[in-house]
Symmetry: D2
Subunit: 333 residues, 4 copies
């Protein structure tokens, strides 16, 4: 249930509603909007008796929520959520580009690529320090050493950092270095990690699972938001189908579908969808044309020697071309 406050409701009136919801045994999450604040009741196993709430000062009305998710829903909050990191706004109309290698391999590699993508217009640097790999024998990332390198990248280039946390204890370390914490596709339903991410003060980039429905993706975002962290960025990165000409099938319709039912921003990772750099540019253009709020792109200065995901990493020249094409599209709408 949603408690909608009047335009002129004061902070103390909002707090009084939250307190009352807690007395009822549930939890109230205020969600400020451009016009007015709504308070979402979570933790209720069934219908809620709203008679007491309706008598409180500043309350305009209550609205039952029909979807299995609440906090992620447009029913709940009609304005699109804009996530601000320094001077970068994700969901603010202008696509944000996050670029970098699959994994941090060395300080030199990270800095080289970071300088290149910065110069070409990327705003966020992506690179993994902890890598979930299908094989226990594959390169698993540099760990904390990798995070420290990412810290230097930020310091030197001014790029913000997005990097992956792989479990609910590991995230403590990651959030010391990252500006955005990534939760990978294989962890989309790792609920311990989601709950812990809900307690973080950093924005979370949540990637869609390989066979997750849009509803399941939103439910996983709901886990994070129900913990108090309302800064969630969704990411479409292709789903698993019978089709074999790409690594995954980019579900471009995820963009309008998410935007219809949720206020959260959604970006696209064309690299993991394609699996081959030859297809990354057309998929990136399609993503922006379909309304994506940004891109997460793999770029490597030496893809043939990359420790992971080489075949899908762009050469810097290709990334330059991508940025050019995206800019043209961007001024379209």
């Amino acid at each position: 249930m949603l408690v909608v406050m009047r335009n002129d409701a004061t902070d103390s009136q909002i707090q009084a509603v939250v307190d009352e919801i807690e007395r009822m045994g549930f939890r109230g999450v205020p969600m400020p909007g451009a016009q007015r604040t709504a308070i979402c009741i979570v933790g209720n196993p069934g219908p809620v008796d709203d008679s007491r709430l309706l008598t409180l000062n500043g309350v305009k009305e209550t609205i039952p929520v029909s979807k299995p998710y609440k906090l992620v829903s447009r029913e709940m909050k009609t304005d699109p959520t804009v996530i601000t990191i320094g001077d970068v706004k994700i969901g603010g109309g202008k696509p944000v580009v996050m670029a970098g290698p699959c994994a941090v391999e060395s300080e030199e590699q990270a800095l080289t690529i970071a300088r290149q993508v910065k110069k070409l217009g990327a705003q966020v640097f992506r690179a993994g320090a902890f890598k979930p790999r299908t094989s226990p024998y594959a390169f698993q990332g540099l760990g904390e050493e990798g995070l420290k390198i990412l810290g230097k990248v930020r310091q030197e280039t001014g790029l913000y950092i997005v990097t992956e946390a792989i479990d609910h204890t590991n995230i403590e370390l990651v959030e010391q270095y990252a500006d955005i914490i990534q939760i990978g596709a294989r962890n989309m339903q790792n609920y311990s990690l989601l709950r812990r991410a809900g307690l973080s003060s950093k924005p979370i980039l949540l990637k869609r699972g390989l066979s997750a429905t849009i509803e399941e993706l939103l439910m996983s975002a709901e886990y994070i938001m129900s913990g108090g962290n309302l800064q969630v960025i969704l990411c479409e990165r292709g789903v698993r189908t019978f089709a074999n000409h790409t690594r995954n099938t980019l579900d471009i319709s995820a963009i309008p579908s998410v935007k219809e039912v949720s206020h959260l921003p959604i970006i696209v990772d064309p690299s993991h969808a394609a699996g081959r750099r030859e297809y990354v540019l057309p998929l990136a253009r399609a993503a922006i044309a379909a309304g994506a709020d940004g891109l997460l792109v793999e770029v490597h200065n030496d893809p043939t020697h990359a420790l992971s995901d080489g075949p899908q990493s762009l050469y810097p020249e290709q990334f330059a071309q991508l940025m050019k094409e995206i800019r043209t599209l961007k001024f379209m709408g």
Copy 2:
């Protein structure tokens, strides 16, 4: 195997190569290119002895073809195929829009919609006279009466007509009225129909099957081309996956994938992919941005009373918006 002719090869030299291939028990299909003609040998169960061919006048070289398809392949013909219907060029760089209702329901309905989409910039009118329907009890189209109405639409509006043929005998009737003959997704591997389409003088619009790989789509085009009809337009219309927020999952990567391996044009049907008109515009924009040669869009003046596919048909106003957005994108590249 491919026999590549020299730039200055004469028509009679080309014919001599075709004749020699026939004497060897196979068939030779000349494929003219901008620079030179290549002749594809089809019908050979295995490797071909090219020693005799290499001695003929005008022959530059022979190239073994490694893919299971030949005539559709870029190995065979590097220039993109452009299909010309009157003043419309499909594959010529400027996206072509084919629009209209799912089915011809009456002369008035067809003419009303045709005038609207013509005015808004569509070049081809799409509407089914023969409708393959999942249920034997559903509306199956007006049949020949529907084709006659399409004839009037062309006469009155100047729009070219694309309409579906449903089997290898029915196509005889359809090709009398259609400018482009559509083969539907459920018939993509109806080989009797494909073979007959290969004998037609009309271009064929071949839709990808619900669970066809790109290679299978190309093999079906190869059936048509191996019969002598080289005018094939491919169409991505979404594939069947677990995802349930759309009727089908638009595989946007089909566009760069087809363009990489084939010279044939490919258009996109965002209506059948989406299944809901709300998603048609973003999918259409994505298709054009990814490099599609055109769109096949369902438009209806009264979708709520349409006899089929109402929920995915655009209102004329929405189609106007689509045309406007596509035009902006078009000038981008």
Copy 3:
């Protein structure tokens, strides 16, 4: 709508109901059951006024049918359909085994295999004379010559013949030679072929399409039955998924699902599902254990030289083992 006749209704009373339904502009299909006959009304676009029908002699009641299919439905006919071909009963409780090569390659090949599978207990011989192949350059079957060979196989071995018809004109030839006419997976929604099969006096073996839902499979059976041919055998042969350890994913749950909603028999083709002979035996055992009415199995005396589907064809010794294992299971229930 279903018109249920009383136990003691006479043939002329049944005919009077059929006549009345025709006067109403629809068609009545009598479906005799063990206890009583029901008459299904088909061709009605919406609800039917049953007031006149309820006054006719012998009519017990009318039942609205809620599913999109009618004739295939258990609502319509609770007794399982048993299809009788000579002394073979499909759907009669004892699994029927149909075995043979993918394609007729020669008289000697067909007769050799037929004698072997006959000796080992197969009741029906399977082999294609017309082969739908993904590539236009692949072996397409011996055509009518192949059908004549199948005629000799029946004459010499006493095996009944199941073989594929590939379009609505080709079926005329096939039905002269076949005891059961197969409609392949790629033609499951070739409605011209389905309609023509509905006019045949021969039983139809309808294979599930690569990405067909159970409802779509039943709707295709409904096409055949609505034409008057009530003898339809369904066949599960695996569906297309992301899984890559088999050619297709055998959907074993199709068996209880079909049996729940339909009275039609269903058999399983473990060969096309597996794609590798190593998995055919366990899949065949699973099919029988799950309640399948029979098997369609590829057996070849020389699989390494088979013109098609060699890797999934059993050696005769493996087929002997399969028959032994099936027999053990068969006495279980």
Copy 4:
């Protein structure tokens, strides 16, 4: 690489090989077989120089391993692995039945169901204390209280306990109460959990992810085994496809496929595959007929009031029937 020891190799010779492998910078895992012991080298990024190893006493030969997994592989260990828990042997030829409710709801509920399934022949009791749920607002299990109830179930009924651990810290608690630790489908690629499971002394039941290939399932088992815990039981529970007549599509071919490439036992969960109790029995029979080493079945005394998975839980009478049918099949082979 695999170092195969001679039949008569002594323990100290085996240890010497392990020590030498460690000196080379890798790790050696001895895998005892019925005939002889093989030592698997893990941790090597590429080919290993075996010249020194071949000179050690007791070494018969070295074998390069071509698959991405090693410890799970039949190349590595040809005898099937049998996991022994008290008097229960999983993989020992006789199917093991694990039954119980989705979740522990109360002591009374758990004990009631446990007594029933024990009486009917189940050997292991399944019930979740920690439940990964799609919605943050759904019942998440009783937690440690649930584990304590499971402890009482074991004490009172003598049933062994299988229950789920949901992350790498939670597993410490679970392994105090469980005889088998379950890793759920959504955690199949939670590598932190897999690594921690590799340090446990309890057998691990690893469920296949919703869209995991067989190779990915085996790689996840490899994570566990590479940590030292060789007791892994795989579980097929249906995969996600387009098919909508079941909750998931049971991939029955997973059984022969796993058995071909791995020595690990595999059981089947027909309840989650079916999603409806009506299909559980045929799927269970199919699983056993295909060679599964056991079943994991949901049984509830009052499914309509179950807090989760009610529609797919068997009534005790249905479970009695399942046990009867499985027994018949069991004596078959």
